[in-house]
């Protein structure tokens, strides 16, 4: 994720949670959080507990989020270097005008770079706040005819995280869409959705095709499609991991069997327990496996019959 992408991400998050952006540049945001975002981001459960119990007017926190540190710092330096504007200062004296709306208010600075805790927290917040949706594609205005009803198809859309794991790990994201009307399966469904305008409300003058398959059946189709795809992958990494696993199991078997054969009776149980422990540890460490779980999913009603 480069600084531009981070900047866009942060902006979208702040907007979607109704935060008040006081000032921004391509390198930073000064923002007063909305109550919603404050609850999620500032980790002040006691304060919010107090607000909820007493009904007090909440005072949310403000932040300076810097998305491009270098650029922001350079800009700040240049600004500091230039002479302060005399007229502004004079005006401020006569009108009691204070520059900025948050002068004096505490505004902690946070640098948001890939890997920073705050960005990681925003990622997490997006993830938990965007898990399940039910949406309708907004009809194109010029096409809509008051007497004509447009047909919509309900789709199940799901984004899957696939983890390939042994003692090491890599990941892939797969996005599937299944037409609940026809059972058609589409890959890279999220890309198809990305450009569309969506609304949570049922638009006028549309009708929705009847579902021919259940959600459960559709999910089954997704699993089948994914499984088929994954079968064609290269599993040499798993082969190698399994070999390492086998090697290590033999080493410890050799070690513990020798130990057991010469052990005193009262020590045997102890050694056997250790042996079992060690076996389990090696499995835990090396056993190759693939796991698929949903990042998020939803029902999407899209124009057209597919």
């Amino acid at each position: 994720m480069n600084t531009k992408q981070i900047h866009r991400f942060v902006q979208h998050y702040l907007e979607s949670t109704d935060c008040q952006i006081i000032e921004k540049s391509p390198a930073h945001f000064k923002v007063k959080l909305s109550p919603l975002a404050d609850r999620i981001l500032t980790n002040r459960p006691y304060y919010w507990g107090f607000v909820d119990r007493t009904g007090a007017e909440p005072e949310t926190m403000s932040f300076l989020f810097v998305t491009d540190k270098e650029r922001y710092d350079r800009a700040q330096e240049e600004q500091a270097g230039s002479e302060p504007d005399q007229t502004d200062a004079a005006l401020a004296r006569s009108f009691g005008y204070v520059h900025g709306t948050t002068a004096g208010a505490r505004m902690p600075r946070e640098d948001l770079y890939y890997g920073s805790r705050r960005l990681e927290q925003l990622f997490e917040a997006a993830r938990s706040g965007g898990s399940y949706v039910c949406l309708f594609q907004e009809p194109e205005l010029r096409k809509s005819h008051p007497l004509q009803s447009t047909a919509y198809t309900p789709w199940l859309g799901v984004n899957l995280m696939v983890e390939f794991q042994c003692d090491r790990k890599r990941e892939e994201i797969h996005s599937y869409g299944i037409s609940l009307a026809t059972g058609q399966v589409v890959e890279q469904f999220q890309e198809r959705l990305a450009g569309m305008r969506m609304t949570p409300r049922l638009p006028p003058n549309i009708h929705i095709a009847r579902s021919a398959i259940t959600l459960h059946r559709a999910a089954g189709l997704v699993e089948q499609a994914l499984e088929k795809k994954l079968r064609s992958y290269d599993y040499s990494w798993a082969q190698e991991a399994a070999e390492r696993l086998e090697e290590e199991q033999q080493l410890i078997a050799h070690y513990y069997e020798a130990l057991l054969s010469s052990a005193e009776e009262e020590q045997r149980a102890n050694i056997e327990a250790q042996f079992e422990n060690r076996k389990a540890e090696i499995d835990w460490q090396y056993k190759p496996r693939v796991q698929a779980s949903a990042i998020n999913c939803g029902i999407f009603h899209l124009a057209g019959i597919d």
């Binding site: 890939y114 399940y132 039910c134 499984e227 050799h254 090396y286 990042i295």
Partner: protein, 604 residues
Amino acid sequence: MADTTKAQGSATSSTASKNKLHPLVELQFDRSWQEELQQRLTKNGPWDEWVLYKLAIEAQEARKIDSFDELQALRVLPAFDPMPHQIDTARKVLDGMGGRAILADEVGLGKTIEAGLVLKEYIVRGLVRKTLILVPASLVLQWVRELNQKFGIAAVAQKKAHTWHYDVVVASIDTAKREPHRELLLNTDYDMLIIDEAHKLKNKKTTNYQFVTQLRKKYCLLLTATPVQNELEELYNLITLLKPGQLGGQSEFAANFVVDKRLPKNESDLQGALSGVMIRNRRGDGGIQFTRRIVRNIPLKLSTEEQALYDAVTAFVKQRYQESGGDLTSMLSLVTLQREVCSSRDAVFLTLVNLFKKTPEDSPLRPKIWELVEVIRQIQANTKAETALSLIREVNEKVIVFTEYRATQEYLLQYFRSHDLIAVPYRGGMNRGKKDWMMDMFRGRAQVLIATEAGGEGINLQFCHHMINFDLPWNPMRVEQRIGRVHRLGQTEDVRIYNLCTLGTIEEHIVSLLHEKINLFELVIGELDEILERFEKQDQSLEKQIAKAMLESSGQRELNSRFRQLGHSLSNVRAEQQDWRSQQDGQPFQPLLDAISQPVEVKP
């Protein structure tokens, strides 16, 4: 999403299923989303927003781990710049050793950094969450700080029972192995176990060794600069802790690799077996070139009034000691008084006032304490501060002044300021932000940084190469720590150390002990540890012995002779240490360790 439970655990739940993708690989579906979606459909909500839905997938795309072997840790730590051999080591542990390794770099090459890199990499990949780090008690906070600051890992120091529930906990092994902690830890599956100073586990009969054997762990790192010291079996025990069987059973190991307990055989096989579990970096021949340390002792003579205070305090302390019947433990605050009197009257004053408050009103001690306070009143000037000031003016570059006492620090700040010398304080109690601020000022306008001992750790001051020991701790390690702030990797100038030494006081003896007998100021890094360990094995800590000599001597002559004795035994220990070192170089293990180690070039 982290792999926190053993696979067996989650696989049995009804919302998951397994299919074979390959004879060796199962595909496991987490189906919990299906039920949740169905439920929300039935209830018609609640539904999340489209924008957040898109952001969620964008975030996940950004965090996705694309390849098995590309290091992710560096990508998420843009401000962190480890040395090449540290990155190489992390890679080897991850790619070639499956996350179980002995990191056996020579002292000072950054084993902690290597371990931190490996840990961070596994955390970023979601392969490690639950982590236990066992280190000597004195290093707990240093580890916590380093993991937090350098690696952005939220490590906590174990303090109370509930601390164990945090994901990354740093604790001392002696605490961990005791009940009630022990049982709790033995019932936890640790994704990662890290043990610092692991050579302390060389004896398999100890409770520490058995405790570590019993801990359940997936990945494991053992850190030690000396994986083998006295006999080959130590090496065997250490490796068996990590991977039992790697060197065969005990009798096989003895038969295959050992001629005599100090003499290995079949070395190339042994090297092969070792290099699968151990990484050792050593300094190459042109390796770390530390700059020189140039020491200057600055003798100074107390004014008559100051000398009077010194004598009065000394007499007072000794008398109390005799009254207590030679009980050293109850003398702590009085010994402090004795040390403070060498630093500044302000430090003494504060302690005296506190002592006065604590003493019952009818005690005969009260008037005596008050007498001392009266002696302080007589003192108009501070000879030491004057000497320091003129020294700093003479140097005319950045200088760091170390003192043990807060009161002295405050006094010096004021004194320097009143003489138009810009000085900033630094102490352990300051919060992070303030510390950074002070550091910035010192880098910028301020010529002098005045640090107390507590602030000594964790500050890097390579841009400064003059330091003044305004007073000297009686514990040589603390002195070494002070020097280490300035004389370290990255220092390009020779480091000049000035010891202020008041003649005719205990300080004169301390300087002579540290400088002449231990040769503290010119030792190779790491050597002091070894000397002190040896010395304290024979007797009490140096600090205690100094205190005793001080308190028990009846006069100057006895004091001199006791310090001569102390100096003598220190010299002996040092000579032994040097013998041992040269033996080590010609030792049977040295070629073995050298054979499996990589020389690295580290430029300061």
